[in-house]
Amino acid sequence: MLGKGDHHQPQEEEEDTGGVVKLISAEGFEFVIDKKAAMVSNTLRNMLTSPGGFSETRQGEVRFPEIPTHILEKICQYFYWSLHYSSGKETAEFPIEPEITLELMMAANYLDT
């Protein structure tokens, strides 16, 4: 799964199983990631677990009209990185290019990550 988020892959196969969720960027790129990874974001967690039956929960896809593709990609990378290293047993640098820092931080604030 990690590999899928690594590259720009416009169309991933649509799987609506409980295990994955589709994140769609402002430009329409779709990232299919594990729900588990998406849950790193509190916003996404709420979105996916909210009891009301919002459209996101039913369809298993979330559109982010304000997040450009390259940021969303970075975010997905971060989800997996966090999932893997947040336990603190092993550490590794999470590389962030300086030019996207601001946008990334705004997105992080938005996603409560």
């Binding site: 402002a26 709420n46 009301g52 919002f54 459209s55 996101e56 982010f64 009209p65 601001l102």
Partner: protein, 735 residues
């Protein structure tokens, strides 16, 4: 909203400028949320995009519209709740709770969705501005708009209390609904639960149980009533566990206990014919244990029970020990005491959880009433005497041990332990000398018990008695071993018990004239004994011995008679003469009159054992009565035991004498105690001496203050002590 365009224009702050410039931004955004919230309340959220709503709220907060959004939200929620309230109010009768519940569920569900959408506000705006979080805001609004709305508040409470009342009177109610209703109140905060439900609930319960208990107590017996109370208590507990907050349990229990038990405690416990006393008398273990557990909840409850029990034991005990009927049979007397003790031990064990304080109360009650009768020490000793005499005949040694252990318990209650010692010594002496001690082991185990209880001093003389017997046996054997050369073949066999003076109870030495055959052999023994032990004196205690004699009667029947020494002396006289008058017998034997009369009575007047015939056949013995051998004597047995003088309770003058002797013995003990105390303290005031002496002597007896005072005076006279010259209350130790 308008993201794509601005992303192209400004990379760094993409949408902020654009939005801020739009004056209708807030209104537009709010409309979106407003509509969404309506959909949510309609439970029609499937068409909504979480992300969109979240983003809208996010942007509003980001652009400093947080407080406005919060206000609008509050307003909006209130509107929704008022709508709900209308429908709840409209619900009829029993549907009211259900409708309220349904709306509450809806509201809860909606609220959690709204909270999720507005999460960004919850996270940033609310903490910095110290507002109530969205979800809690929703609960507060629900509380104020619905639960505390006057029309609903009263109705809700009344409905709940009404349902509980119906359940108490035996109806079945919808417990689920009750549970969710109280749960709702708890969710709104513990203060809501307490103020809006718990407090009135407790008040109503109090009045309910006060009424019910009033009604029960008029018509129920104590046991019945307590059963009822127990049932009610468990019902309430069960009710709380079913649909109330756990913390209410304690409170409602307190209410029931107060109304049903505490308020009627005295009346219940003292209830005639069914109260505590009745339960005790009839050994109603179940009722008693119920009473114990129930009144355990009541402050002072157990104390009251304990006091009533104590006074009951004291009363019955007092009537037992002072009843003149009972005094006739000491063994029965003590047996009754033991039974009483067993009974209460059982009750405390079974019903009162073996409560230490109850055991103490029992002990102090027994101590109190046993000492009411000054003859208790004597009777207890007699009881032991009886048991040790019969011992193995009746029961095996283990049973005997348990009986002795129980007796030791009674012994512990005695204040005049020295008096007991005196009697025990007498009785033991009789047992040992007449060979009636059934089991040496039991005797010794009793001694060990006394020793562990009272120390070496108490039993040293008693042990001396056993040692004497052992050495006597050896001496007698030694006598016969050395006497083979002497002419003892035809003489009667004697067995001598040499008693150390002092170890044995002193008896007035009434020597009598022994038959010549006996005198001969006893003189030989005296010579032997004094020959081996220099400088000793030997006196014959003829009043304590016994003898086996062979008798051939006129009708030819032969018997072996087991008699006392005195009886032997009398019978031997008839070897030389056929008939003798009382006066003749008295002269030739020199037996003291009282003893002689008793001994003649047992020889001539006891049915089936009339070895002698008396003329005239009257009960009393006069000086001129004449006696002759009963030639027609028959008995099924070869060995005939002639009534020996069994240890009996003392006659009044004897009692007085023993008492005096005991008092006399106490004097040196008191003096010794005073001297011991003064030696270590040097100077002490009068009152302290009194308490110290009493404390020191407590294990043996309770000294009389007047006697102590006399002893002090005597010690001053003998210059052991002196009074302080300035303070007359102080004493000084001299020497």
């Amino acid at each position: 909203m308008n993201n794509q365009k601005k992303r192209a224009s400004a990379r760094i702050e993409p949408f902020r400028h654009r939005v801020e410039t739009d004056p209708k931004f807030f209104d537009k955004s709010w409309r979106k949320l407003h509509d969404a919230i309506r959909e949510i309340y309609k439970q029609n959220a499937s068409g909504l995009s979480f992300e969109e709503l979240y983003r809208t709220a996010y942007n509003m907060v980001l652009h400093k519209f947080g407080s406005k959004l919060y206000e609008k939200l509050t307003e909006n929620l209130k509107e929704h709740l008022e709508e709900m309230r209308a429908s709840v109010e409209a619900a009829q009768g029993g549907l009211f709770l259900e409708e309220l519940q349904r709306k509450w569920d809806d509201h809860n569900k909606a609220l959690s969705m709204i909270r999720d959408i507005l999460m960004y506000m919850d996270r940033t705006y609310i903490p910095t501005n110290h507002k109530t979080a969205v979800f809690d805001l929703g609960l507060e609004l629900w509380r104020d708009t619905i639960v505390r709305f006057p029309m609903i508040q009263g109705r809700l409470l009344d409905t709940l209390l009404e349902l509980i009342h119906r359940e108490r009177t035996g109806e079945v109610i919808n417990r689920c609904l009750m549970r969710s209703s109280t749960k709702m109140l708890m969710d709104l905060g513990s203060s809501v639960y307490q103020d809006d439900f718990e407090r009135p609930f407790l008040e109503v319960s109090a009045s309910f149980y006060s009424g019910e208990s009033q009604q029960f107590i008029e018509c129920c017996a104590c046991g019945e009533y307590l059963k009822q109370a127990e049932r009610r208590l468990s019902e309430e507990s069960e009710r709380v566990s079913q649909y109330m907050d756990v913390k209410t349990n304690e409170k409602i229990t307190a209410v029931v206990v107060k109304e049903m038990l505490a308020n009627h405690m005295q009346r219940l416990i003292l209830m005639e014919n069914s109260g505590l006393v009745n339960m005790l008398v009839e050994d109603k273990y179940e009722d008693l244990s119920r009473m114990y557990t129930l009144f355990n909840h009541v402050p002072d409850g157990l104390t009251t029970i304990r006091n009533v029990m104590m006074s009951h034991i004291k009363d019955t005990g007092k009537s037992l020990v002072t009843d003149p009927e009972r005094l006739r049979d000491p063994v029965d007397f003590v047996q009754r005491l033991l039974n009483e003790k067993d009974k209460y031990d059982n009750i405390i064990n079974v019903s009162f959880n073996n409560d230490k304080s109850f055991l103490n109360a029992l002990n102090s009650s027994f101590e109190h009433f046993i000492n009411l009768n000054t003859r208790s020490p004597e009777f207890i000793s007699l009881f032991v005497d009886d048991k040790l005499r019969k011992g193995v005949k009746e029961a095996n040694e283990d049973d005997l041990e348990t009986v002795l252990d129980k007796v030791m318990m009674l012994f512990r209650y005695l204040q005049e332990k020295d008096l007991f010692e005196k009697y025990y010594k007498q009785h033991l002496a009789k047992r040992l000398l007449s060979g009636k001690a059934a089991s040496d082991d039991s005797e010794r185990s009793m001694l060990v018990k006394l020793k562990t209880e009272c120390g070496y001093q108490f039993t040293s003389k008693l042990e001396g008695m056993f040692t004497d017997l052992k050495t006597s046996e050896d001496t007698t054997q030694g006598f016969y071993a050395s006497a083979t050369s002497l002419d003892l073949v035809d003489a009667p066999t004697i067995s001598v018990q040499i008693l150390t003076t002092g170890s044995w109870p002193t008896q007035p030495c009434n020597t009598c004239n022994l038959p010549p055959e006996i005198i001969a052999v006893s003189e030989k023994f005296r010579a032997y004994y004094l020959g081996t032990h220099n400088g000793r004196r030997l006196t014959w205690q003829t009043n304590m011995g016994h003898a086996d004699i062979k008798a051939t009667f006129g009708n030819g029947s032969k018997h072996e008679l087991n008699v006392s020494t005195y009886q032997m002396c009398v019978l031997m006289l008839f070897n030389s003469s056929d008939a003798l008058t009382y006066r003749e017998i008295e002269q030739s034997t020199a037996i003291p009159a009282a003893d002689l009369k008793r001994c003649l009575q047992s020889l001539a007047l006891v049915k089936g054992k009339q070895v002698l015939r008396k003329e005239p056949m009257s009960r009393d013995i006069a000086d001129d009565d004449s006696f002759c051998v009963n030639d027609k004597f028959t008995s099924k047995l070869f060995k005939v035991k002639i009534g020996t003088v069994v240890a009996q309770k003392e006659t009044d003058p004897e009692k007085l004498e023993t008492r005096q002797r005991v008092e006399e013995d106490r004097k040196p003990q008191i003096e010794a105690a005073i001297v011991r105390i003064m030696k270590s303290r040097r100077v002490l005031d009068h009152n302290s001496i009194m308490t110290e002496v009493t404390k020191q002597l407590q294990p043996r007896f309770l000294p009389n203050p007047v006697v102590i005072k006399k002893r002090i005076e005597s010690l001053i006279e003998r210059e052991f002590l002196e009074r302080d010259k300035t303070d007359r209350k102080m004493y000084r130790y001299l020497a």
